[in-house]
Subunit: 363 residues, 2 copies
Amino acid sequence: MSKITSEQMRFWSPEVRELEPYVPGEQPKIQNLLKLNTNENPYPPSPKVVEAVQAVLENSADVLRLYPDPDASLLKQAIATQQNIDASHVFVGNGSDEVLAHIFKAFFVQEQPVLYPDITYSFYPVYSQFFGVKTKILPLNDDFEIVVNDYKQANGGIIITNPNAPTSIALGLSAIEEVLQSNPDSVVVIDEAYVDFGAESAVSLVAKYENLVVCQTTSKSRSLAGLRVGFAIAQPHLIAALEAVKNSFNSYPMDRFAIAAAVASFDDQAYFEAQCQKVIDSREKLVADLAAMGLKVLPSKANFIFASLPHKDAGELAAELRQRGIIVRYFNKPRINQYLRITIGTDEQNQRLVDTLKNDILA
Amino acid sequence: MSKITSEQMRFWSPEVRELEPYVPGEQPKIQNLLKLNTNENPYPPSPKVVEAVQAVLENSADVLRLYPDPDASLLKQAIATQQNIDASHVFVGNGSDEVLAHIFKAFFVQEQPVLYPDITYSFYPVYSQFFGVKTKILPLNDDFEIVVNDYKQANGGIIITNPNAPTSIALGLSAIEEVLQSNPDSVVVIDEAYVDFGAESAVSLVAKYENLVVCQTTSKSRSLAGLRVGFAIAQPHLIAALEAVKNSFNSYPMDRFAIAAAVASFDDQAYFEAQCQKVIDSREKLVADLAAMGLKVLPSKANFIFASLPHKDAGELAAELRQRGIIVRYFNKPRINQYLRITIGTDEQNQRLVDTLKNDILA
């Protein structure tokens, strides 16, 4: 894009001139790269997803021309059934990024600052700036763990990614309950984008805590990153705030294909569990292989690992991997600029990474 | 939904407690209703749309698990080709409602108020409240026309639906140029959701005016309401503001099915033109039939008409039509509460409406 002159800038809203947007992981358009950089699932979605979209197409004359259900009721019900809750506890959105954006607007525009860790999902500061949310950033400890006691101060809300990203480290439910109980007047959001790969979900706490919002996505554990379906689970008085925000922004965020495909995914629990287990098994093997080569790998409950090499610059390592056709995510930021975030691939893909390191880069 | 207590309300952001969300037209879940209430197209989308989604499905293992292109470059290029402009002038979003939301944030959060008519798309006041945009509402004249001279006062932006909704009346390009020239320091947005049914598009003015944003949708003229694809066309320094806003809210709003299907629609210009002409022809016939029965019908350039009966309450008429299986849109609002907005159906559907009025309700 060519440079925008200050004269042209007069058309922008003043606050928009200051925005520092989120930068998503690279989606390369070249083929044959081993893409371990955006935490996608190496396996396809349930075959029932394809069947469900086929069924929409067979009826396309009648449905594509018509607006979708603005409430996506079928999808809310499918999620509710799978999560063993009532559909009145479910909110859906165009990817969990949209759900999180609505969460920031619905709950966090407060006098007091929102609390979150220094190392976490890098969209949180972006949402905060976008909606004018005050923030107080709390450092993880030296082992990259969340310090629960830090979350017992005055605040206008709390958001914790669990397992955290990009660290991959999970917090137990007792720690989350401690945060919930210490903040009875604040909304506590647990962002569980990666929870299905071995961490404990806080959905089981929703009935007990009127201040809890759990956010999840179909992008990782359900292999539907290409579809854009995220959701939140909370008591109805919190869901109502999300609906008020959504209906002040976009009435129909979920298209007919997304609704049908996601419903089919939630209906196929056996496939879901099997694929998650495959990723977990592959992760444990990869962690062992990398540890054996001297890499430091943080304890992961996610579909990625966060790893470093004591005697090699992480940025250089990422560049050398890329030269060999393997993309991983490198964050050139304080505290984590000597780590790489590596998505778990299939066993064959992970072996290619291990072999490239062992026989080539570190040989 | 059960009532929310004031104690539960403490969790909501204070500004969200005050929101008055948009209420979309009813999407009834019962069958066999003649649905003339949400301005959907009576014809299916291009057969190439179905083929394009089929092609995605055939490759689903490789694509659904992967994030879509966050820039939706293929879609921007398809729109640019069809509109005969450069792709750098195109912004895409999850329905034109999302595009309009981003427009309000990107350009209209200003010291001066945004100008728009008293009778227009009822989402504009909702966006204004949501983003804290000041507004100054300018009445249409007694013939429900926009008074161009009113749009020559200090403002922080202007938005005009053209053809206007729910009035169906179009403004000519010379009037729009007058507004653009009178406001060289404000962004002027022309919301052309219905432009393809006989009005003149301002896209031809984008190269000439650095303050013009044109917004369109695939929901009406391309029969893709079920898909959620809208777009804006403007010079790159304005597109950049929309991208900054979008990337501060949701990086990947367009899913892989939506991108593929919309590209196929824009590639099939012949089908598009033929379907639009069919709707226009049906509209002219319906207007003549209703006028012959004594209804007052405003001059329409849209895929709907705005009509009233001199001796019958419009709200009652809507209710009586509904009892007979025909849904139209009734707005119980000042100035327009004696009009009905009626979507143009197929000739057969329109005849059913005419017959029901002639032989039954008005018999």
